[in-house]
Assembly symmetry: C2
Homo-oligomer: 214 residues x 2
DNA sequence: TTTTGATTTAATCATTTGTTTAAATCAATT
DNA sequence: AATTGATTTAAACAAATGATTAAATCAAAA
């Protein structure tokens, strides 16, 4: 692996990542990747064996990058639940402003491949084994018709953060926004979502979400 | 157009709709459609000219079907805003429980084609020309940092309704739900979302969303 | 400088994929 | 029953697509 080779490999990965994120696996052609990376068609197979293997690599890196932050933020024991919510909201709005294609890419590729993608990524980092998620799953057994049930509240948090980016072109079209106005609205949601989430809870103490702090 | 012909045409459309909704345009092969419909490959071209034309037809019908209800519900002048919210929530949760593929299908196909899909559908029904959307667009010019700004509140409503279905496989995986538990949670959200939305507003009168009723 | 191994290229291959064609079949009318 | 037009079929085509090959190029080591 000389300097140039590494360079070529990275150029291919970067171009492939862009295209896969924008157009998905089926919508991306090997010749598109080669052209976007400025390399010979055969080099894609030389470095990554096949389109599918390249895709799997990028998919794994993408999922890992996307979900790693949840872990980091949730595990920080010095933060209160409110602080965690603020950090999650802020982090993901920043991320999605830069890469608005991520939600639809992940969701549309997950519908074909099922859980096996996540088994791969989550078994190493065991997101699911976090006290937070254990608490969540255990609470599923209980009455989920409670308006402040943790599963619903979490769903609402994720929905309010992610959906506007997933539906970005549609929202811009329907509300008649330009790129700048859209970003401005998302910046406002960075402050507003924690406020809204707080209103969804019965008291100031967030009794249903607090499980291992204060 | 004899009885049998109409039948064939409908069989093709039904099979194509299923496959396009599940796998998108690029992921659906003409031979898959033929096999699923139980017809000869050439009949797809005989009845619909090309895969693209068949797709465009189905896309238009799907979008129209999906958004027609918004219009019907929003335009009903005898309903208060709270009633409209209840009707919207209930209607779309019923629809998405039956067809959970719709959100990802629409969002992933819209990312390639831009607004031109909606121009087609919305110019006839002029969703955008509804007093509701005119009010919305006009209010964009004003201070959108207001926590109860209509654009944000509407975004939250749509997000809370649609996102859980868009992310259905992921949510089932992370929360460890089976199909029945997931549907049960969605049924609960039918009642809960209007309650939550109400909490996001400053007073009982929903001052920012009421524009042409009581 | 020569050698060696890695990298890059142009050309080609085999398969998949969307579409067409010409003949066969069917169903209604004469 | 024969005719007519619509529908269905099997076969084939051309282009697109993912992958491979053999030769050319390059860069470092001998």
């Amino acid at each position: 692996m000389t300097e140039k080779d590494q360079n070529t490999e990275e150029k291919i990965k970067a171009a492939a990542r862009d295209l896969f994120h924008q157009r998905g696996f089926d919508g991306t052609k090997t010749r598109d990747i080669a052209e976007a990376a400025g390399i010979n068609l055969a080099l894609m197979n030389y470095y990554f064996r096949s389109k599918k293997k390249l895709f799997d690599l990028i998919m794994m890196e993408t999922i890992e990058r996307f979900f790693q932050s949840v872990l980091d933020i949730i595990r920080e024991e010095d933060d209160s639940m409110e602080q965690k919510i603020q950090k999650l909201t802020s982090h993901y709005i920043t991320l999605l402003k830069q890469e608005p294609d991520l939600p639809v890419f992940i969701l549309s590729e997950v519908r074909s491949n099922p859980s096996f993608i996540f088994d791969q990524v989550f078994k190493d980092n065991d997101v699911g084994q976090t006290p937070f998620f254990q608490f969540l799953r255990q609470s599923i057994g209980q009455d989920t018709s409670d308006p402040s049930h943790p599963a619903h509240i979490l769903l609402n948090l994720i929905s309010m953060i992610v959906f506007p980016f997933a539906a970005k072109p549609l929202i811009m079209y329907l509300l008649g926004l330009d790129e700048e106005q859209f970003h401005h609205m998302m910046d406002q949601r960075r402050e507003l979502i924690p406020v809204w989430l707080h209103k969804l809870l019965p008291s100031d103490e967030l009794p249903n979400l607090k499980n291992h702090e204060n």
